[in-house]
Symmetry: C2
Subunit: 363 residues, 2 copies
């Protein structure tokens, strides 16, 4: 009773193991391992026999065994701290994830996703578990935050991490983003100025996001460079409700003060804001021009079609995954994806400012 054969017999028809393959090929398990991992020191005929045996048994190495052995789990993690509702309106994550997967899949890596409500501590717990249970080789972070506590946490947990976006204060965490980040907002401002707008408002995302601050700065700089002072700036929360509230506030001003164009920090807010304006009696783009950010398919769907700033989230996801492989020293065939800088997609929600006795609005 060697145990080995006993076991094999007992489990007939169950998952084959490397031992089964070795037995069928008439070689040792280490020979099989070498063949499957492309190590050399195996003769062509032997390699051939092993390959055939593996194919016949439909065997492939157990991911868990490999992970236990080599400390490589072949999975990367991602933690999304968002409510289902926001997640559903904003495909930001979804697009990123598609890109990540595109890059992971060919390398036989998986994506372990954790969606953890926004309650404090939940996010940190998720990262801790990922690290302490050694479930993933690294994590991909998004939504760079001001004073981001995650970097320190992950460093402490010794969990490799890649950030999608602009890191806070040149934190040494590897980050991927397109060059020319300011191009989008600048183009939008020029676009609006070209239409004659002079009172342009900005509705930003949550205050704790790095891109909120960054884009607002670009916005203000771009206007200042043209000798104009920025219009009102409100900060919102990425939700439709937030956008409606912001719009209400902006349009409550009297005609002389009221913005004739509004830049929103994402498409969801832009669309919601656009319709809020319409409900208040303002036509888009006749009375008010609206610009979004992200270029989600949603913008094509609505009426009028949304002018927006495109950023290629799928490519960003790919780049993040590629960067992760770099960090882990994993050779990955794919060429490093190029990420285009954000650029303006002019559609129907922007137009010339009306000089006549137009704005009759409010309601």
């Amino acid at each position: 009773m060697t145990g080995r054969t006993g076991r094999t017999d007992r489990r007939r028809s169950a998952k084959p193991t490397i031992a089964d393959v070795a037995a069928l090929a008439g070689v040792s398990v280490s020979a099989v391992s070498k063949v499957m991992n492309g190590r050399d020191g195996i003769s062509a005929p032997t390699r051939q026999r092993v390959l055939e045996a593996a194919a016949k048994l439909r065997w492939s190495p157990s991911a868990t065994a490999v992970a236990l052995r080599g400390a490589r789990t072949r999975a990367v993690g991602m933690v999304a701290a968002r409510s289902p509702d926001v997640l559903a309106t904003d495909p930001h994550f979804t697009l990123l994830i598609s890109g990540i997967e595109r890059e992971l899949a060919p390398a036989d890596y998986g994506l372990l996703l954790h969606i953890v409500g926004e309650e404090p501590g939940a996010e940190e717990r998720a990262y801790r578990r990922l690290a302490e249970e050694r479930r993933v080789d690294g994590v991909i972070l998004t939504e760079s935050r001001i004073g981001d506590a995650r970097f320190e946490l992950l460093r402490h947990l010794r969990l490799p991490a890649v950030l999608v976006g602009t890191p806070w204060q040149d934190d040494p965490i590897p980050a991927v983003q397109a060059g020319g980040q300011d191009a989008g907002v600048r183009a939008a401002v020029d676009h609006l100025l070209g239409f004659g707008h002079r009172r342009i408002a900005y509705v930003s995302g949550p205050q704790d996001r790095v891109h909120t601050v960054f884009r607002r700065q670009v916005f203000e700089t771009a206007l200042a460079e043209r000798g104009l002072r920025p219009g009102r700036t409100l900060s919102s929360d990425f939700t439709a409700q937030g956008a409606v509230a912001a719009m209400g506030e902006l349009l409550a001003a009297d005609a002389a003060e009221r913005p004739t164009a509004v830049l929103f920090a994402n498409d969801t807010m832009a669309v919601a804001g656009m319709n809020a304006a319409r409900r208040l009696g303002f036509d888009v783009p006749r009375d008010l021009s609206v610009v979004g950010y992200d270029n989600l398919p949603l913008g094509e769907l609505v009426y009028p079609r949304l002018t927006t700033i495109a950023q290629d989230l799928v490519q960003l996801g790919r780049a993040a995954a590629a960067a992760m492989f770099g960090l882990l020293n994993i050779p990955h065939a794919q060429a490093p994806p190029t990420i285009h800088p954000p650029h303006l997609v002019p559609r129907e929600s922007t137009g010339p400012v009306l000089t006549g006795p137009a704005l009759t609005g409010a309601g």
Copy 2:
């Protein structure tokens, strides 16, 4: 040189193992194991010491080691065969995933997600890898298909599976769905009939989906029961483009034939269709009523707000995860979530039919 201590020394400051905890607590590894797994046969003081040691070392069991040992990976898989673009417009998956995660997280289970384009074979390969590499304990399927090949595949792979939706031909795969599936479409039909509509069209999803056939049947039955014959039925593909095309076709008919109301199989199509109609010169809801399906947040965002049939995808996800735990014999504290039947959410995109000389449209 026992090796054990040698190792521990060598790796100071690295991840602690169960042996480190045992050493610190002055007990055997099996004692630690028993404490951590709630097995009995451990005295209170010992248990206490172990817990303290584990806490001090911030130790928690390695997921891979546990998986290798017990054939339990503490992860469930999900394969989404969709293009990023569709994924981005349709948060169907995202909502489901939120629900699944809600249920998985407390049990310390993870979700391994695979997004694989729609090219043939990609999906099957993904399931095969999940199974053969023993990466997950089971998989959750969505979008029940006619003649679904996945059931047979998964059975063959011996991979436990739960379907979200209506299984094809009472396939014995465990499935979760709300009772009263027909309630939504019926309510929508009644709602439209109440507004005086008599020519109601239906734009369904892809032909290979079970719910496509099911809902169409309900639609036709509901009308037949009122002594009416169904209007035109087109099948589309869940995309905005598809909806625009369908709308164009429906509105091309002359006024006597033209539908006065259209039911769409999802909200994305409904919104796209609504705006297509508007571009063709038809006002919604004055000239045409539109109803969607899913009750995505999107429907609140657009103008006019979309009347739609709500189904609680988050709850469905939770139920699916719970069912998976049942299948795996894993005790899970949460009470089984209840799923409400689909129901109508009347908003602004539906209204009374115009009898006057209204339809001037087309363009």
